[in-house]
Amino acid sequence: MDELLGMSLEDVLSQEVTSVAKKAQHVGDAPAAVYVISQDQISRSGALALTDLLRRVPGLEVFQLQGSATSVSARGFSSRFAANLLVMVDGAAIYNTPISGMFWDQAIFPLQDIERIEVIRGPGGTLWGSNSINGVINIITKQSVDTQGLHLDVKAGARDMRGEFGYGAQLSPVLGVRVYGTYRHSKGLQFADGRDIGDKWNGALGGVRLDYAPSDSDSVVVLGELSGGRFTESRTDVAVTPSGPAEIVIGPRNTFDSEHVLARWKHIFAPDFELTGQVYFNRLYRVEVDAGVSRDLYDASLEGHWRISRMHDVNFGISGRISHDAVGSGGLVSFPSGANTDRWLTGYLQDEIALVPDTFTLTAGSKFELNNFNGFHVQPSLRMFYRHSEGLAFWGAVSRATRTSLLQQREMNANFFLWQRDKRRPQPVLTQVISFGNKHLRNESLLAFEAGMRASLSRSWSLDLSGFRNLYDKLVTADLISSEPLYVAPYTDPVGIRTLNTFRNNAKGRSWGFELLLSGQITPQWKTELSYSYLDLRIDTKTVAALSSVPSIPRDASSRHQVRVSTSYDIGDKVSLEGALHYVSRSFDAVRPGFADLDLRAAYRPLTNVEIAVSGSHLLKPRHLEYYTNYIPLPFGYVPRVVTLETRVRF
């Protein structure tokens, strides 16, 4: 009971980490670099999007690059789709195979229905499988019985609008239901001079969730959700002018729609043995880069947790996944076979061995994965946790993780123009990139060494330090096959270069770094967090000549340093103030300068069920650049200052 009394009420109700060990455990006992975004932090934020919440996680890089796109990555490799990070909602992966990552803009389920977000930096392959090579984000939503009554939340400003509603009810002692919905509109990014780029985004989502718990030993969740929207993409292209080819920005209008159903049953056979079965189906259609992608995803899993004895705590599971992707060819990409089906069969086994109960724990396990395009591979890990005293603990881990080769690199051909620039070449060079997929690509692999420490400095202050050394092998590269002068009609002289490329596993990488988090309370009403992260990342390609071989996800857009200070202060019970100052150093390729960001929020509660707030994001400058890369036809899109008024009501 003393342990429970040491936790906050929110902790007692819900604060448990399931992503590290696939079982409930306290954050302080997890042998991994884990950060939990709590319900209280979500409630106090003025976030307009899920990705805004992720900015507070130490070491995570969150950069907006289009109105419809945000890059989220851990420990480097910032890219349009951040293919090294596995993202799940309630344990169901919402990672998209054909585009190798997340459509973050489509993740618009109500923020007020999120119970917590668990973010693990570092490999999670042993339990979660491929593509969790640099981290796992698990978004856990509230059960319907936790959101009874009607909730409304509307945020509106000159550039953005977000409205959420949810209605939950307990229909009987064993049955709860919630219906919910979100609408979001954003004007997108701006050019450096303040003009709108025009990459607007409009979308809506609706869903229903049923929770059925006929006994303390059984819980069933059935969830159905559908969403749709339209957005304008921003992309650079080539215009013919009398003085030569010129860079222009075009804005094709695109659409998306998605439906998914999930059913999960958990049965506790005995207090120390439980099984969870889950089935998930998602149908997605999205038009982007002139191509329509449609995907049917089927996923089924059976997982178990068995505490065999005081010494052995075992997790095991099997799962199967089928992803059928059909890609319509457009001007930029073509998919010769038209359709593709990937199949995975995976299993995992992990034993947590309490060598000295409550003091020293060793966790060993492995994931075994078989798929129809990369064959069989294993992802083992060994983790240890040592509690030196009540206020001081250490952990360490050695893991192997893999990233399967991506459909777009295996099967797709691409043909597009880039205006490439760097600090040595202020004038951009026009490059036509023609690339061909390579069916023989192998898995990328990572050998990771991690260590960490958690210390309670006093009753109200704690320190969390994580360090890592990552060794990457067989990183996918875009390799030059040939190059020639580029001729574009009606010009008679070459206007740039044309390159023919394909994908190979021709790079190795190594990185090291650390993340530091100091959190605590100055007074009971005044909470503060200070974090600093450092990243050193190097990628070596086998070929030497410039442009002859470049990593498909280069290190360029990532940053070496990030510092964040956030604070919240309550004045009585009616007023809450929040603030966060965030600094990100310049990108590794020096194209994007370092930037500082300030977010502020003031909330007033005239009644216990009403909250009115004003929020400002990116307040230090009218606009700033967060992301740019030379390898996709992306304009310089500046993230503007945003001020919104928010009203929350609960009946």
Binding site: D146, D211, T608
Partner: protein, 173 residues
């Protein structure tokens, strides 16, 4: 087929082991769940302001309640400026006038003597707050959460912090 008898024997052994673990496990789980419920009650009281500002806050419950022992373990704990006194009574007819908080278990708040000024009731079940209870505890899917009838609390002049209200599964305003 050679492996089948072995698998069968192993399966039976596993089932036998699970069954043999159950009674001890159930007792342990019941105690754990009682502790969680008691700590949730304790935390709710930390976020409540009562009109009477005595040194002790008196929490009364019947001695035969399932979590009486878990609540008793909280006796004497500090609630900030006040101390929690847990009082076990043989039955409600023994009188509840001196209690600031009454935990009724699965009993009905309407069956209690009429709540006085500054007094709140806590009980189990999703409909507890619909029947004049102040704070309800709901067990659902092995987890416990709480609901609040803010109208009844206001009538008793007891205030709950907005932070607590945000965490409540349901609030009647």
């Amino acid at each position: 087929m050679v492996y089948f008898p072995t698998l069968k024997r192993t399966g039976l052994a596993v089932i036998a082991l699970l069954l043999s673990m159950a009674p001890w496990g159930q007792a342990q789980a019941s105690d754990d769940s009682g502790n969680v419920k008691a700590v949730i009650i304790f935390n709710i009281l930390r976020f409540a302001s009562f009109p009477h500002a005595g040194r002790a806050l008196k929490l009364c419950t019947r001695s035969n309640e399932v979590i009486a022992r878990n609540l008793q373990a909280l006796d004497g704990r500090s609630l900030g400026e006040r101390r929690l006194d847990v009082v076990l009574v043989p039955s409600w007819s023994a009188g509840t006038g001196a209690c600031d908080v009454i935990y009724t278990g699965s009993g009905d708040a309407k069956a209690l003597p009429k709540a006085r000024y500054g007094q709140i009731t806590i009980g189990d079940g999703p409909s507890f707050i619909d029947r004049d209870g102040t704070v309800g505890l709901i067990d659902f899917g092995g987890q416990t959460r709480f609901t609040i009838n803010a109208r009844i609390a206001r009538r008793a002049d007891v205030r709950f912090s907005s932070q607590l209200m945000r965490l409540a599964a349901r609030v009647i305003n």
